[in-house]
Symmetry: C2
Subunit: 254 residues, 2 copies
Amino acid sequence: MRVALIGAGNLATNLGKALIRAEHEVVQVWSRTEESAGALAMVLKCSWTTNLEEVVKNADVFIIAVKDSVLALVASALKEGREGQLMVHTAGSLPMGVLPTERRGVLYPMQTFSKNKEVDFRVIPCFVESSKEKDLALLKTLSSTISNTVYELDGENRKYLHLAAVFCCNFANHCFTLSADLLKKHGDLPFSVMLPLIDETAAKLYAMSPREAQTGPAVRWDENVMAKQLQLLADESNMQKIYELMSKSIHGMI
Amino acid sequence: MRVALIGAGNLATNLGKALIRAEHEVVQVWSRTEESAGALAMVLKCSWTTNLEEVVKNADVFIIAVKDSVLALVASALKEGREGQLMVHTAGSLPMGVLPTERRGVLYPMQTFSKNKEVDFRVIPCFVESSKEKDLALLKTLSSTISNTVYELDGENRKYLHLAAVFCCNFANHCFTLSADLLKKHGDLPFSVMLPLIDETAAKLYAMSPREAQTGPAVRWDENVMAKQLQLLADESNMQKIYELMSKSIHGMI
């Protein structure tokens, strides 16, 4: 398919590369800055522009992968002269309705993207939605060429999916940060000592549900250990609050 | 070395297998029940008993891997007739002093052990401590034959290490449980859709610190997304509290 890629950030970059690998044609890249547009266009071997008016007038799909805060603005500017085109965004938490065109949709690849760390797009689950049956079929076909896992999901459930991802990725990672702080402060251990434990915590989920995988003092409600650990956090009121709340939640007490 | 293994739970089982692989001799297994003692002894090809008095009178080291709550009791019963022997426990949160013998120590393999899921002991960091230089050297030597990563760590810092592990493993896993609940309730998605995201969240830590790896609405302090997500949790006061506390903590506001 012929794809116009609007955006050149982490997601757009990973998506663009996946599209090329699946032998689609990225016809053009747009980005706000010449640097990022040019850099991604060089990787994808296509033309680029920083002017939305100069974006091609037709493509099988225009994929808008920009920051949530500017999505509506970019899409609205793009609509002019491309009213009959299919536009999709890639944001987990925004409804399809932020797009102004009649043919519209969402292609949400659920993953945490970082600069300089390429991801294997085939293992990333993609969630698609569209206002029209035909466009939904197109998005499913397109997605299944770049990912092994494609689900159709409406905007309401996608909001919860995105929220679930915040818990799995952002909040779990913050637990790692707090852990790193403790290690640094007490014994000055490198955070790398935790990596086998984190890997195994993740690996267990292929064999059992997270509820079944739960271990530790809170699930046993070992009040002795918990009281001692809260005491260790006497100077860390932030971590102490989190310790209490998480322990109660693990034990189903709130 | 000749090792007597006191206990036959998940940790003792994994440890016993690792010792055998490293060509040590497990001379005997003790467990409270015939079933578990017999089962592990069969795997390790050694004798077993359920009577602490019948445990061998000497070994290079007696490794006591039992529940925290019965550790002092088991060790005290074991001491009689074995006063000059080296006894070590495997508990992260307990001091070496719970052991009554003069020659004592700790060998704490930091990992989450589950029934029916074997782990590669070589990647598990082991933390050792002893009251005597010679026994410390023995524990370091023994540990380094079964693990690639051995640290000497005193009891005070080990308490914090164990607490850091609670954050990394238990609390992160609870974030996965809450996420699974949201997916089940909204869209009935299988939790497996989250596995690539969790794997990548873990994999990033090999390339950057967890603080650098942090993404999501809270680190950007995207009040619009956060307000909407809190609203989605209106019927889930537990998750709402956790969402608020974790978001503030991520942003360094508490």
